[in-house]
Every structure is written in C-alpha cells, then in structure tokens.
C-alpha cells in the first residue's frame, strides 16, 4: 500500500480506520462515545501582485481529529488532533490508537475533575452535567459534490496564469496610482467520519475561488468570488455570473471611481435605506446567522464570539416572538448550491433546512447533538470544522434572507428621499449581535425615486431588531454569495459559509468616515 498523502488515501484506509475505532471503543473503560475524522485536501494556489507572480503552491494535507466522551460518575469530553504524514500512515494503527488514548485520557481526567468539583462547589456545581449527545439516525454514505473541471487536474501553471492575468488587467485600470493583490485557489477536500455508533460517512467537495484586493490612493476595496465547484467557478459558474478576470476588472474600476467620490455625510436621524443583495449577505450573516448558533445562545461563546440577542435564558428568549417585520424570513439550507453546501456535518448528522425567522417570528437555532439535547430540539447537522484536526463548532451553512415578491426597481422607485446601499465592506457588531455598523462599498442618494450622487466610506448602523422590524419591502432578486472567512473558535477557524438575500428596504442611520 502507498503511504503517500493523497485524496485516495481515504479509499485505502477507511475500512481499517473504521474497524480500529470500533475495536478501541470496546476496549476503553467508561467510554460512551468515540468518533474520528480523517481529512485530506489536494490544492493549488497562486498569488500575484501588480501583474507579477509572487507565490504559488501545490499542497497536500492530511489530518485527523478524535473525540471521546467518557467517565464513570459523570461523563466529559476529550479531544486530540494532528496533521498526518507518510510515516504516520505507515504506522496507522499505532498512530490512531495513540490519538484515541490521548483523547480518552483527557476525557477521563476531565470527568474526574468534573465529578470532584461538582461536589466541592455545592450549589454552584449543580449545573455541571454529564456530556451527552442527542440520538440520531446513524448513517453510512458516500457523497461527493460534483464539479465539471477537476481541481486536481488543473496544472499549477494555469492557476499561476489566472492570477497573473487578473492582476495584470487590474493594473492597467488605475495606471501607476494603485496596488492590487490577487489570489486564486482550487482544491479537492475529502473527509471520512466514523463513530462508535457505526457511522461511516465519506464526503468530498471541490472548492475554487479567487480573491481580489485593490488600493487606489487611500481607497481599499476587496471582494471574493468562489464556489464549491471545480475550475469552472472562475469562468462564470458563480454568484456573480462573471469570469474571474471580469470580476477583478469591475472591482478595480469601482475602486478607482470610489477613490474620487466624496465621503458619505453622516445622518443625525434614521433614513430610508434600500440595501442590495450583496450588502444583505453580510447583514444576515452578522445579525441573524451568528446569533442563531446555539452555542452562542447557550453562552458557550461568551468569552470569544459573544452571546445571542435571541436567547437570554430558558424563560427569557425570543422563540415564538416577533423579532422582525412579517416580510422577513430567514433560514439556513445546506442543500443550496453555495459555500455552505454539504450533506453531513462533522457529527455525521444529515444537514436539515432550518427556519430561524418565519414571517417575522423567531423559530429556532442551528445546533449540535449536545446543544440539541439541552434545547430539546432535533439535531440539524450544523457542526463543522475547517479541517479534521480541529474541533467542530456550530456554523452557518447557507444562511439567507428569503426572497419576497417585489421588483427591486419598484422598491427603489418608491423612495422619495433615502439611500441605496450597494455592496458590503466590513462589519462591526455588538457582543450579542444586537447592534451593527456595516460599511458599504458605495452608497447612492435617492431622490424622487432616482439614484443621484454616490458616496464612499459610509456605513449603515442600527440596532438589529429595529432594522428587521422596519423592513417594509423585500425584493424577488435573491442571490447567494460566498463568504470566505467566518471566524470562530480557539484556535481560530475561518470557515467558508454561504449568505445571501434579495434587495430590501428599511430604516437606519448612516455614518460617514471622520
């Protein structure tokens, strides 16, 4: 058998790994659960700046992540993660067993301390509980997201050329007064999930993306084009319906134009704002997507990513309550063709469509097996990690504002005095996601239903519930965008998710740069 790390490694070892997990599980004392993820990726990457290739890489990575839940009096978790190399594959039995032992030792130690502290802490120890998982249908499946042009077959030189060409055409747009950086990436990912419950899932997906950042004088703009597809993503099979070169050129032209535009004047009061689908992609991500992650709701992320304005406690939350205008519906769906597409999550749970806000009323969270048990919900398959050696977290899949029925041009035409917000830039959000300030790429003044002058360096700011409650028009122009860097966890995991929506109209204040 070859010990090389390739996508094909999983074919060579998956039965062996599955049997090892079952064998180890039966031999571990006080162990109630064990799972293992083995992931491999093969990818190519290139970076160019100002029309010159700076870096390129052809990479193969393999890694492994193990979870154990064990304990005599009260169960607790332990984890182990590691990259793997050919020597680890050569000694796979020993490598996997050592990893399982390490995770088990941590779980057992954790259990022992939990039990001890529960007694010592008295009343404060009453909430310390056994770590348990909600029951699920155990699945055995092989699933691959399709592609047209195999990322592993694209020559590295082609990736380099794509980056250089895009960077070169961008350079021509602004002459000598700017700078650009272009990244191009294509790869194939595969992950095996096996568990002591008998789960055996082999899942793979392609990923191709391009990133452009442009600086013209002090104007900095960036954007990302990508999809869970093969090389075809860069040639029009993407949310923008553009080739990567067209996308890069458009961004450069936009940046050049914006560099000469006036800065948005701040408004003292709320004004009418019409927000385009690209802006709304980041909006739904920040003020709904994140606070519907159940770990945030249950305070597990308080020290890092914050809490959730949808949930203060079991007796103090928004479930069943109005949180938005009845024109607003928000849901997550991993079956949509976007960055958040997958079939099974990192606990082997089949991903389900989850409605978070249904015509203005809050309905539910993205969860894990552990949080589903606490919230008394069914697991909906929302646990993911960027790589197998990292512990999964509750993450958005494709989380979106649902489309409405209005023509977006009519939504604009109806505005006597307001602003049209085009494209998102950078967010800043309150700790429980209760308040936001999201800068836009450009903002137009609307007068008597027509777009007038446009501005740069402006942001939309509002309390989240206020904004959602004041939505009075939702368009039929739904779009799903790739969001490449949703950061969460320690160590930080920057996961790709899908977010989107249609044109919407609401009210908010605008803040211009000082």
């Amino acid at each position: 058998m070859s010990f090389e790390i390739t996508i094909g490694l999983i074919d060579r070892v998956k039965e062996q790994v599955f049997n090892m997990v079952l064998d180890c599980y039966s031999g571990l004392s006080d162990c109630i659960y064990l799972d293992l993820r083995l992931g491999v990726s093969e990818s190519k990457f290139s970076m160019a700046q100002k029309g010159v290739s700076k870096e390129s890489r052809e990479e193969v990575f393999g890694s492994i992540g193990i979870r154990v839940i064990a304990g005599r009096d009260i169960t607790a978790s332990g984890y182990f993660g590691s990259y793997i190399g050919p020597s680890d594959v050569r000694n796979l039995d020993m490598f996997v067993k050592e990893g399982i032992s390490c995770a088990w030792r941590r779980a057992v130690a954790n259990s022992s301390f939990k039990s001890r502290f529960k007694k010592v802490l008295g009343e404060l120890g009453s909430s310390l509980s056994p770590t348990r998982l909600k029951e699920i249908e155990v699945c055995r499946d092989t699933f691959s997201l399709p592609f047209k042009e195999d990322p592993t077959a694209v020559p590295l030189q082609r990736v380099v050329k794509e980056a250089v060409d895009a960077s070169s055409v961008v350079e021509e747009i602004y002459g000598s007064c700017g700078h650009n950086t272009v990244y191009v990436y294509t790869g194939l990912f595969r992950e095996l999930f096996v568990s002591s419950e008998g789960a055996f899932i082999d899942q793979s997906y392609p990923l191709t993306e391009g990133f452009v950042s442009v600086v013209v004088e002090d104007e900095f703009q960036y954007d990302h084009l990508g999809g869970k597809g093969g090389w075809e993503v860069l040639y029009g099979d993407n949310a923008f319906n553009k080739t990567f070169r067209e996308f890069a050129v458009d961004l450069a032209r936009d940046t050049l134009e914006l560099s000469k535009a006036p800065v948005l004047p701040s408004t003292d009061k709320e004004v009418v704002v019409v927000t385009d689908p690209h802006f709304n992609a980041l909006l739904v991500h920040e003020i709904v997507g994140h606070p519907v992650e159940a770990d945030r709701a249950l305070k597990m992320e308080t020290a890092y990513a914050g809490r959730s304005w949808f949930f203060r406690g079991f007796n103090r939350n928004q479930i069943g309550k109005k949180v938005a205008s009845e024109l607003v519906t928000v849901y997550s769906d991993a079956s949509l063709h976007g960055y958040g597409s997958y079939r099974y999550d990192a606990e082997g749970v089949r991903a389900k469509r989850v409605v978070h806000i249904d015509r203005g009323v809050f309905r539910g969270f993205l969860n894990s097996r552990e949080t589903a048990l606490i919230l008394d919900e069914e697991p909906n398959g929302s646990m993911r990690a960027t790589q197998a050696h990292l512990v999964p977290l509750i993450r958005m899949s494709n989380t979106v504002f649902a489309p409405g029925e209005r023509n977006p041009e009519d939504i604009l035409r109806e505005v006597d005095d307001g602003y049209y917000v085009v494209g998102h830039h950078t967010p800043s959000i309150g700790e429980s996601r209760e308040n936001f300030s999201i800068s836009a790429r450009r903002i137009y003044r609307i007068k008597d239903g027509n777009l007038r002058e446009f501005y740069r360096s402006g942001a939309v700011t509002s309390d989240s519930r206020d904004f959602l409650m004041k939505v009075d028009a939702v368009g039929n122009d739904f779009k799903l965008f790739p969001m490449p860097n949703c950061g969460k966890g320690v160590p930080m995991q920057a996961l790709r998710v899908g977010n989107g929506g249609p044109t919407m109209r609401s009210r908010a204040k605008l803040v211009g740069m000082k």
Binding site: Y79, F117, G122, E301, H425, Q493
Partner: protein
Amino acid sequence: MKVEVLRKCVGDGLRFIRFQQGVREAEVFASWNENITIRINYTSEIPCSGVHEPKSVVSYGVGVLAVFDTPQGIKVGFGSDTGDLTIEGVKRALERAKKSSVYDPDFKTLPSPSYGSPVLSSYHDGTVMEIGDEEVVYLGWRALKGALAVFRKKGFMRNLIVGGDVTILKEKVAVANTNGIDEFDESSSMFASITAVIEDMNAKGTGWASATYLNRFRPEEAGNMAAKNAISSAGGRRIGSGVYNVILGRQAVSMLFSEMIVDALSLDHIDSGNSPFVGKLGQKVASDIVCVYDDGARPFEVGSKRITCEGIPTGRTDLISGGRLVGFLSNNYYAKKYENNVVKFIPRNGFRFGDEGRDFKRIPSIHATNLVIEGTREVSSQKLISGIGNGVYIGRLWYLYPVYGLAKAHFTGTVIGDSYIVRDGQITEPLKPNTVRINDNFMSLLKRIVAISRKKSPTLTWGSREVIVAPEIAVKCIRLENVAEFIEEL
C-alpha cells in the same frame, strides 16, 4: 520531538540541496508544534461541562524556500512536506518548491547571519514540554475554580457565566540556509483568558494570566480577576451619546494595536499602500509622549522568541519615538526590497505563525512579538484617571475594525465590559456593558493621547499571536454613541 531531530533535518536537507543542480540559494525550515487548548464553559442556569474541550493539535514537517537558476532567469519557490523530517521529506518539499517557483523581481536574497547573535537562550520550560494530560486538564479547572471561588465568597450564586480558555503553546524550530544561517529555537508559553458575567446584573469582567514557566503560571488568578472585575461592574448605567475624554484600559489598548495599528506599521502594508503611515517616516504621527516598539527578545514575555522564523536574532525595533514615526516591522523580503542608501530596515519580524504554532507550511510574513507602548513621561493610574476630569474608562473593546480600509484609519467597535464612568477625576460607577459604540480615527487618536500610565501588563486579544505590553492611556475627545436600548426589554 527533540529539537536535535529538527536540526538534523535542516542540516541534512541543506547539505543535500547544495548539491542539486540549478539551486542558487536555499533555506530549510523544520518545526514541531503542539497547541493545547482547554476551553472553559460554565453557566449556573444552563447545563454545562465546566471544562468543555480539552484538546490539542500536533503538527510537524519541513519547508524549503529555494532560488533556482533557470534559462528564463532566477525563480523563487516554496514547498513543504508534512509529517516527515527525513531526507525524503526534504526532497519532496524541494520538488514542490521547484514546481511552484515563480519569477519575482522583488526577491533579492535570503538573509545572512549579519544581525548579531540571539539574546535569549534556554528560555523554554522543559516541564511544560512534557506536561501530562491530567495536569493539562486541571489547568482549565483551576481557572474556573478561581472565578467561582470569588463569586461564592461574595455571595453571587445565580446567573453566572464563566468562559475562556487556557492555552499552552510548545514550539520547536530549526532553520538553515545557504548564506550561513544555522539556528534553532525552542519556546513554551502559557496563557489564560477568562470572561466572567453576572447576567442579570449586566456585569462583565475579564481576567488574564500568562507565563513562560509552568511554576509561574496562575490560571486561577485569571479567573479571580475576571470574577472581581465582573462584580465591580455590576449595576452599570448607560451614558448619552457625545464626545468624551476617555481612558483606554489595557485590553482596549491591546485591541486598538492588535487589530489595526500593528498591521499599519508593517512594511507589507506600506508596500501595498494600505496604511495611513505611507509617506510619513520621520514625521510626527502621535502625541509627543508616545513611544512604541517591538521587542522579541524580552525575557519572560510570552511573545518572545530566540530567533525569527528566518533565523535572524530577535530584538528591538523602534516604531514611534516621542510621537515621531521612526521605523516599520519587517521580514527579510520587504527589508531587502526597501533597502537603500538612506534607510535600512532590520528584519526582526519574519515569522511563520499559524494557529498551530510556527508553521513549516508557510513562508515568513510580518508579525509583531511583544509590542511595547510607553511614554516619555508616565503617570500612575490614579493620576491618569484624575487627569481626565469627567469621562469614561473603557476596559474592553469588541469587534474593532478599520471599516473603510486600513489606509483611512477610521474604526468602530463596541464597549463590552470592565468599563466605568469617571466624574471629577474619580471612578464613580460602572458603565453598562454593550451599550456604547465608539467611532474614531486611530491616526487622530494617537495625536490626542494626553497621558500614559507607568504600569503595563502583557495582554493578548482573541486570535492574535502578538503580545501587547499595554499601559492605560488617556485620550481626549472620543465620540461615543449610546446603542441597543431595546436589549433591556428582551
């Protein structure tokens, strides 16, 4: 994994590469890292685990940066190999480097050993390198116990949240190149960062602890500090929107520098034009009292390293001196690119930091190590507070980003805890967490600094590698907005 194994890998690897045809220069870098994180999650009203995730990630391998003579000219390439420190791993990495090589006219040469000798030696803790699983897990419980002990003693038993983590980072590296660099490094660092909340009192406090030696590491002190700060902040009230004199506490100062100013002071951002410091070398960019420097060789600091990931000894790089911009952080690539007869940048900040440690899969980029902020004149914390008259003490900032791009220096963020209202030079009452948004411009803010505290402490922000050795600073006229009043109805 012994560091001698890594040294042998790079030594053997370089000897092999020297004999390869067409290789003009080469650098071999090998590393072994273990990142152990114990995540804490305690909630008094919701079933919880206490120590939620005791976990670790191990990574090791080799990276080769090579300069090739080709018929088309000089090309530079990088390749790596995971999990194999034998000559076979080096060969595969070299092959990948060759395949991925590109012509980059900005690449000059690899570094040479002309920057002095390393200052630090044998500064890692051998005990930490061998720490067992049970002891590791117990560190997390110690941090939690520290917080709960304070709550219990003070009679706070309901609506409590304690979260955060204890992290141990073990890093071993070896690096050698054809210009004569042959170095190694071994470091251990421990951090605890804890947040404590009394939810029904809208009280939130932060605590942290760091050390390079296990016998000096006190995670329970991080827990104590967080709980005490939470209790101090109970019963906070809102302020109206307006312009205020502000004291930025150490965590807030760390956020400001980690999220924005460090990048803006890095030569790669100057190169791209995406920094407000472009064209300002030698000019006044801050108040006269402000001095900022990076020093990777400070003893006992968790950000310290013996060498950079390019094999260059760490040391001090002055950035702002008496308010004047005097330098930038740099790695070898940008230092060589910008070297001329007038100015020379010493590349003391070329690191391969990734989430797992010093990552053999990366080429060196620019990172701060221990960024020190100090004043030409410094005062006590008490004097700092009394000096602002009426204003706000901001302990912790959140989601601070340059929302219109770094070059414009405008930022926004929210105040999430450890904050107080100041009247007549005295702290009078807590500021309610999550009720204030700050909008400002950091270039302007640096010029409005009026006082800097004598006492500093090393602080880390979520997701950052650098340590900010931060004082408290007093700043005039910061715009603060009252936000999210609806949250009280929920």
